[in-house]
């Protein structure tokens, strides 16, 4: 089972606090490896807080932790805080402005039981692949 969603990225307080501890600290990496989903969408997929989910766009795919949240006002919208996990699935085009499209990307969300969130070194190895 999976559902289609509009992916938003943005600031979160935990991300803000985590980055001040260090951009490679556990607290920062935990704060940016979550995905807020509408509680109804989570329920339909049988997802609880902390379950692994896979978010896929035309640009890539990443496993993050599910966070059913009242912040999501409408079903079909998901949110990942700014950071390396969100950027694994963001697109490169800037529409001649310099600004990539960090908000409003089409995505698919599916449960990812047994899959885990990558750590800093594993993420980095993805970037270093030629």
């Amino acid at each position: 089972m999976k559902f289609k969603a509009i992916l938003l990225t943005g600031r979160s307080l935990k991300q803000g606090i985590g980055k001040e501890l260090s951009k490679v600290s556990d607290k920062y990496m935990e704060s940016v490896s979550i995905c807020e989903v509408h509680p109804k969408d989570a329920e339909e997929l049988g997802l609880k807080e902390g379950d692994s989910i896979r978010v896929t766009t035309q640009f890539g795919s990443i496993v993050v932790k599910c966070n059913p949240s009242q912040n999501i006002a409408k079903s079909g919208i998901i949110f990942i805080p700014y950071g390396p996990y969100a950027n694994m699935v963001m697109g490169p085009d800037t529409d001649s402005t310099g600004m990539p499209s960090f908000k409003g990307l089409s995505a698919e969300v599916e449960p990812a039981p047994g899959e885990r969130v990558l750590n800093v070194k594993e993420l980095l190895s993805q970037y270093l692949r030629r």
Binding site: S22, M99, K103
Partner: protein
């Protein structure tokens, strides 16, 4: 033990100027008046810190002398055809000025984090201007505060209390004398504080602003809904904006990063311009990094342009989309970089950022980051605003002095000093 008052907070564009820190044995042990993000920085700045310059040898970062790290960075930049000097949004204006000088010396690009925050605001400003004011004006006079695409409670936690709806001004005495409207695609903690929350559909901010402009002119909107909202709600919001005495539109990355980007800012400024036919209304971007505004100011003084300036021709050339670091990396056009207090590997899309890993680059940063871990050279620096002095511009372009509260660790220089050393090394080699 000493208590230092009126410290300016080096976190976000609010530059709160009332922080109190208790210093014992050259370490901050207590902090007052700060938000949770600021407190985390003031109480943890000395932890998880890399204090040694590093150079990549046989695939691994190894400790080296500062002289060796500076020399290697100078070589990287001198041997490049099209280097980029990027970052500086968390640096003082003095370091930023040396950064521009370095870019000119090596004939490269000088760019900063504006590219992934309010670059579209700069483009909108070029097209439309920006009817704005200081945060003090907002605090004293505004009776209608609109936040559009900004979760200020999490990105700028004290903005509401110090400068806008909950602040106590001369003519507006606090929250009861002001209306707060939040327009966003999520019902964020900020939205929950609003008198009116407008849940705009993702990517349809432009349509909503256009509809508001039509409603202000009493034009018929021949649709039942716009941007996911009933037309009656659009008209109600337009009336609320028209009938205030002093309104302000604070906007965040919800406008600059969403579909439309710079066009959204054109439309937002046009909306505010229209509102000034009826009342007093101003607009202001919610700048994120504490001195990204300063980097725009400094780059503009020195080159005429606020970011993404190409100095390879011997004169400044500015063409966002062409000379922006994201686009240069995407097309694989730059061949070396110096990254100052920034982490593009974590904050650019992977398909862009991975091209950074294909070129030699050096990093100056107080902390290790993903970008530092993949660098050729890493140089630790002091935290400006805690361990080094500097100047910074608040989001309303008011300049303020950042203070040195404690001494940096032994052997750790400011970013201004380090960029200056690289510049000096390059000039010495060229003589």
């Amino acid at each position: 033990m000493v208590v230092i008052k009126n410290i300016i907070c080096p976190i976000c564009g609010c530059l709160c100027d009332d922080i109190e820190a208790t210093v014992e044995d050259n370490k901050i042990t207590k902090v007052k008046n700060s938000c949770s993000v600021s407190a985390t920085k003031f109480l943890n700045y000395y932890k998880e810190r890399n204090l040694s310059p590093l150079i990549r040898k046989n695939g691994e970062l190894k400790p080296v002398s500062l002289e060796e790290a500076v020399d290697r960075t100078a070589e990287i930049l001198m041997n490049a055809d099209f280097p980029v000097i990027y970052g500086f949004a968390c640096s003082g204006c003095e370091a930023q000025a040396v950064g521009v000088e370095l870019a000119e010396e090596v004939g490269g690009i000088i760019d900063n984090q504006t590219v992934t925050c309010h670059g579209p605001s700069a483009l909108g400003l070029h097209d439309q201007g920006m009817p704005t004011c200081t945060l003090g004006e907002v605090r004293h006079r505004a009776d209608l505060i609109v936040y559009w695409g900004s979760n200020f409670q999490e990105s700028h936690p004290r903005h509401l209390a110090r400068y806008s709806a909950s602040s106590e001004g001369r003519f507006r005495k606090g929250r009861k004398e002001r209306k707060l409207v939040v327009i966003d695609v999520r019902k964020t903690p900020s939205a929950r504080l609003a008198d009116l929350f407008i849940p705009v559909a993702p990517g349809q901010d432009y349509e909503l602003m256009l509809a508001l402009r039509m409603a202000l002119q009493y034009d018929d909107i021949e649709e039942e809904s716009v941007a996911g909202l009933p037309v009656e709600q659009v008209e109600e919001l337009a009336e609320m904006m028209r009938s205030c005495e002093f309104g302000v539109l604070f906007y965040g990355l919800g406008l600059t990063m969403s579909r439309g980007k710079a066009r959204n800012i054109d439309m937002a400024v046009s909306l505010v311009r229209d509102l000034n036919k009826w009342t007093k209304f101003v607009i202001m971007p919610m700048r994120g990094h504490y001195n990204v505004t300063g980097m725009n100011e400094v780059t503009a003084w020195q080159t005429g342009y606020p970011y993404a300036v190409d100095l390879s021709h011997g004169y400044p050339w500015y063409s966002p989309g062409e000379t922006t670091f994201t686009d240069l990396l995407r097309r694989g056009e730059c061949d070396a970089a110096l990254i100052v207090a920034s982490d593009p590997l974590a904050h650019f899309p992977k398909n862009v950022a991975q091209n950074l890993c294909k070129i030699p680059y050096a990093v100056i940063d107080p902390h290790l980051s993903m970008t530092a871990l993949a660098a050729e050279v890493v140089m630790p620096c002091a935290f400006t605003g805690i361990e080094a002095e500097g100047s910074a511009y608040r989001m309303d372009t008011v300049p303020l002095p950042l203070r040195k509260v404690v001494d940096p660790p032994s052997g750790i220089n400011s970013d201004e000093q380090l960029v200056g050393m690289i510049l000096h090394a390059i000039r010495s080699k060229r003589r």
